[in-house]
Every structure is written in structure tokens, then in C-alpha cells.
């Protein structure tokens, strides 16, 4: 197979550039995490940041909000950088929706990678195992997790969630900082990614819960043009978050991660039908 045909295959009917962006951030964060460990023994790579993962987590900014508002200080292990990333993440979300989930978050990325195997195994049944009723209820669970994390952090002033955070575990499995809870949750997440696309994001991620709210008011939206839509449901099948795009005019579902897979640039077969747009007619 030539490089050209490989490339064609890779770019066919999907937002290939998103895969590249995801890979880039995955590698970047992984390198920084390794560098953090190396730097502790004095052999880090100097041109690369060796910040701790906590410092690079935008969600850290969210959980520390309460303490910051009341005492003006940050929760242990959280620094200004988390705060700045949180603000940048919110800015991106207000503009484009949860692109941090769909394009940047390495935990989302690794779930997608495992999901590729699941899709090979189960073909069309993949991502359709959870009964719709149960699924609908479970999708509220991440708000429960969010409430719990924010409450516990405020009550204890420590970074409670690090003990359970699969993202932190993923990039620290070699260090002694990892807690059993996090390892179990990461394992479960990766295993269930074989059956469900992005299970952690759908049912548990507290940060996804926060970012998801931006879908209610974001500037650039996913819009379906009812006039030209063939109702073939290609978008519904493509959507990793199982959103029935073909029944929406504008996608306002809090679970959308702005992956653009439903748009005419990827799976929607009619040009100009599902689009990523700002402004224009409201309905």
C-alpha cells in the first residue's frame, strides 16, 4: 500500500485532523508527565515543561473555585496555571462547545482508541449496548459526580478527586502517587470502552459535565438544514455520544463534544446539511 492510499484511507469520511490534534495533545501531556517524574530525580528534559499534572488540569481550577472565592487561596496542589487553563477552556467552550473533550482531553482520546477495537469487534452493535432508558438516566450521573467532587474539595481543602481520577492515573501509573481507586476506575473505563464509546465522558466525568453546559449557549453550533436533510441518520450513527442529530435543528444536547463527525465534512452525505456555524437564522 502506498503512502497516498494509506492517507486516503485515513482521511476518508472523518475529521482526520481531529485525530492528529488528539494524538498531539496525548503525546504532549504524556511527555510532560514523564518529565515531571524525571525532573524529580534531576534528569528532566529542560525545554519541556515539567509541571505536575495537577497544575495542568483545567478541572483543578473548577474545584478550587469555592476555596478561591472564600479565602483567596488555592486548594493544595492547584496553582495559577490550572486557573488559567480553566478560563481558556471555558472561552473555547463558549465559542465552540466542549472542544476540550472532543479534541484535546487525552482521557477522551484513549477511550476512542479502545473504542476502535470495540467497533471492529461488534460492528454496528458497538455503542448501542446500554438500553436507552437506562442510558438516559445514567447520563445525569456526571452531575452527581460533579456535585460530590466540588462539595468534598470545599469541605476538605484537598484535591480529593486525584484519588479517583482515571486521567491522573493514566499518566502516573508508574509513580507511587497513584491510588487504588483511580486504577480501578481507569481499568473499568478502558474495559467498558470496548462496548460503549467514551463511557467515562458520558456517565462520570465531572469536567465534561461542566463543559457540557456550554452546549446550551455556545456561539458556534451544530445545525441541521431540515430542507436538504435526507433523514438517512448517518449523523446519528456517527455521533460518539449517541445524539439523534437527525431529530434536531440545532444540537443543544449537553453531551455534544463538538467532534464534527456528524457534519457534512465527515458523515453527513449532503453538502451544507449538518454544519458548524455561528449566527444566521435562530431556529
Amino acid at each position: 500500500m502506498t503512502v497516498a492510499t494509506l492517507w486516503k484511507r485515513f482521511t476518508r469520511r472523518r475529521i482526520w485532523i481531529r485525530s492528529l490534534v488528539q494524538l498531539f495533545f496525548f503525546v504532549l501531556i504524556a511527555l510532560i508527565a514523564v518529565n515531571h517524574t524525571l525532573a524529580e530525580s534531576g534528569q528532566g528534559i529542560s525545554w519541556l515543561s515539567n509541571a505536575s499534572l495537577h497544575a495542568l488540569c483545567p478541572f483543578g481550577g473548577v474545584v478550587t473555585l469555592y476555596q478561591y472565592a472564600t479565602t483567596g487561596s488555592f486548594v493544595q496542589k492547584i496553582h495559577e496555571s490550572s486557573f488559567i487553563l480553566m478560563i481558556l477552556g471555558l472561552l473555547l467552550a463558549v465559542l465552540f462547545g466542549p472542544v476540550l473533550c472532543g479534541w484535546v482531553c487525552p482521557l477522551g482520546t484513549i477511550q476512542e482508541w479502545v473504542g476502535k477495537v470495540g467497533r471492529k469487534l461488534f460492528k454496528r452493535r458497538y455503542n448501542h449496548f446500554v438500553p436507552a432508558r437506562l442510558d438516559a438516566v445514567l447520563r445525569y450521573a456526571r452531575y452527581g459526580v460533579l456535585a460530590w467532587v466540588v462539595y468534598m474539595t470545599a469541605a476538605s481543602s484537598t484535591l480529593i478527586f486525584a484519588e479517583y481520577d482515571p486521567y491522573f492515573t493514566l499518566f502516573n501509573f508508574w509513580s507511587s502517587e497513584v491510588a487504588i481507586g483511580g486504577a480501578v476506575i481507569l481499568g473499568l473505563t478502558l474495559l467498558s470502552s470496548l462496548f460503549v464509546e467514551r463511557p467515562w465522558c458520558k456517565y462520570a466525568c465531572p469536567y465534561g459535565a461542566v463543559l457540557g453546559l456550554s452546549n446550551l449557549f455556545r456561539v458556534f453550533r451544530i445545525r441541521r438544514n431540515v430542507g436538504t436533510c435526507k433523514l438517512d441518520k448517518a449523523c446519528d450513527i456517527a455521533c460518539p455520544m449517541n445524539i439523534p442529530v437527525s431529530q434536531r435543528t440545532i444540537v443543544r444536547d449537553v453531551q455534544c463534544i463538538s467532534c464534527l463527525e456528524c457534519t457534512a465534512e465527515a458523515h453527513c452525505p449532503v453538502a451544507g446539511t449538518v454544519e458548524f456555524v455561528a449566527g444566521g437564522k435562530k431556529s
Binding site: I17, A51, I84, L85, L95, V104, F220, E265
Partner: protein, 251 residues
């Protein structure tokens, strides 16, 4: 109406994230570590000065030197750092592992005491804080009260004579000195050699220990100090908490 394709979205994501980080670091807002500024004395003669009591394990000797104006070579000499280590980036919490076999603990608390007395700042010495012999020697050349002199005389780790022996062993300068040191720890006192088993033997329950650790207790034969080093915790903090438990139970 503005349409956005995946390529433009990519550009915007990258520009906003990296541009934002770049801008904030240009403005000096981007900090991935605690700004290390110790609290200051609030009363007394030294009011307004940095308080050594607030030094923590994450501070390096270089930072201590900058903040308190104690020359770096003095600090290195006082704590007998091996010549091969870079004193400026040496974290206080590493001191505990520099004196692994000492019967008493040399750690952050020792630095606090040393810095305070070196600078003539008020500082209440805790009865179980020891200093390396060379630190004591340096302090003795500073103006000290007689109470302080007395304290130093009885809280020196190893005598100056024995440190000469020790100097030949670079990495653990006081390994031998301790046996000749002026202090033998009494029973029921946690030292650098105490294991979890001993704490259990002294009547503290495993549940109590685990509450202090915040997680499961390792094998009882584990030396507490090793455990702390391995967990990246400060031994002195752990020690104080466990010692409090021991002191609660009567023998």
C-alpha cells in the same frame, strides 16, 4: 452566518490554548508551582520578617538562602551536604534521607531552627530537634543567648571529633557519628529507625495509624522513615502525628 470547518477549528483551538498560556506567562501569571513565600512574623521585634517556621520540605536550600539571606555555602556546610550535590536545588525534605541511620531526625525542622538562630530571629526550639555538629559549630560563632548555647550543646548530632570520621563517608556523613552522639532516644520515641511494628507494640492500633496515613498501613516491618521517603511525605510531619498517638497511650 459564519461556517467553520475542522481545519479552522484546529487553528483556533491551538491558538487560543497556546496563545493563552503564552500570554499569561508573558504577564507572569502562569505558575505551575506554589510561589514560595513564607509567612512573616506578625508580632514582636521581628514583625514583618519572614518566619522560618513556615519553611516546608519543598523549599530548596537556594530558596532558603535567597529568602533569609543565609549564604548558600554556610547552609551546605551546616547540613554537611556531600560535595557532589547541587546545594541550590537541594530540597529540604531530602535531608531526612541524607541522615538515614541517625537515631534522631535531621530534617526541615532542623533547618528552621538553624536559619532562625543564625539570623537572630525568635524561634522556640522543640525538644526533639537536633542539628548536625557542623551546624552547631557555625551557630556557636553567632551571638546566642545562654539558653540557646545550652540547647545546642545537648542537641548536636555527633561530636565534632566524630564528624571527622564521618567526613570520609560522603553519602551518609553521620552514619557512624550517631552511635557516639550525645543522644540516645528513649523508648517510645519515633526515630529514623522506628518501624510500624514498634508503634503497634507501643499500644497504638493499626486503625489509628491508618487514619494518620490516610491509607492502608504497609507491612509492619517497614521503617516509618523509609515509608515517608517513598511516599514523598515529610517524615517530621508523620512522626509528630504518630508520636502524639503514642503519647496518648500509657505504657
Amino acid at each position: 452566518m459564519i461556517r467553520l470547518g475542522s481545519k479552522w477549528l484546529t487553528v483556533l483551538i491551538v491558538v487560543i490554548l497556546f496563545g493563552g498560556v503564552g500570554l499569561s506567562s508573558a504577564l507572569g501569571w502562569w505558575a505551575t508551582e506554589n510561589r514560595k513565600v513564607p509567612s512573616r512574623y506578625t508580632e514582636g521585634e521581628a514583625a514583618g520578617e519572614y518566619n522560618p517556621a513556615d519553611l516546608r520540605g519543598s523549599y530548596t536550600l537556594g530558596e532558603v538562602s535567597d529568602l533569609f539571606g543565609v549564604p548558600l555555602p554556610i547552609l551546605a556546610e551546616a547540613f554537611e551536604l556531600p560535595a557532589t550535590t547541587d546545594a541550590a536545588s537541594y530540597q529540604l525534605k531530602s535531608l531526612e534521607s541524607l541522615y538515614p541511620d541517625a537515631s534522631v531526625e535531621i530534617g526541615v525542622e532542623s533547618v528552621r531552627l538553624f536559619v532562625a538562630w543564625y539570623k537572630g530571629l525568635p524561634y522556640e526550639a522543640q525538644a526533639d530537634t537536633y542539628l548536625p555538629a557542623s551546624a552547631v559549630r557555625i551557630l556557636q560563632s553567632r551571638p546566642l543567648s545562654s539558653a540557646q548555647q545550652e540547647y545546642l550543646a545537648s542537641h548536636s548530632l555527633g561530636t565534632p571529633a566524630s564528624t571527622q570520621v564521618a567526613e570520609t563517608q560522603q553519602s551518609t556523613p553521620l552514619a557512624q557519628a550517631t552511635s557516639e552522639g550525645t543522644h540516645t532516644p528513649s523508648d517510645r520515641t519515633i526515630t529514623g529507625k522506628t518501624t510500624f511494628q514498634q508503634v503497634l507494640d507501643w499500644g497504638v492500633s493499626q486503625a489509628q495509624i491508618e487514619q494518620v496515613l490516610g491509607k492502608e498501613m504497609p507491612a509492619p516491618t517497614t521503617v516509618i522513615k523509609d515509608y515517608a521517603t517513598q511516599q514523598g511525605q515529610e517524615f517530621s510531619t508523620l512522626k509528630t502525628a504518630l508520636q502524639a498517638l503514642i503519647d496518648q497511650v500509657q505504657p
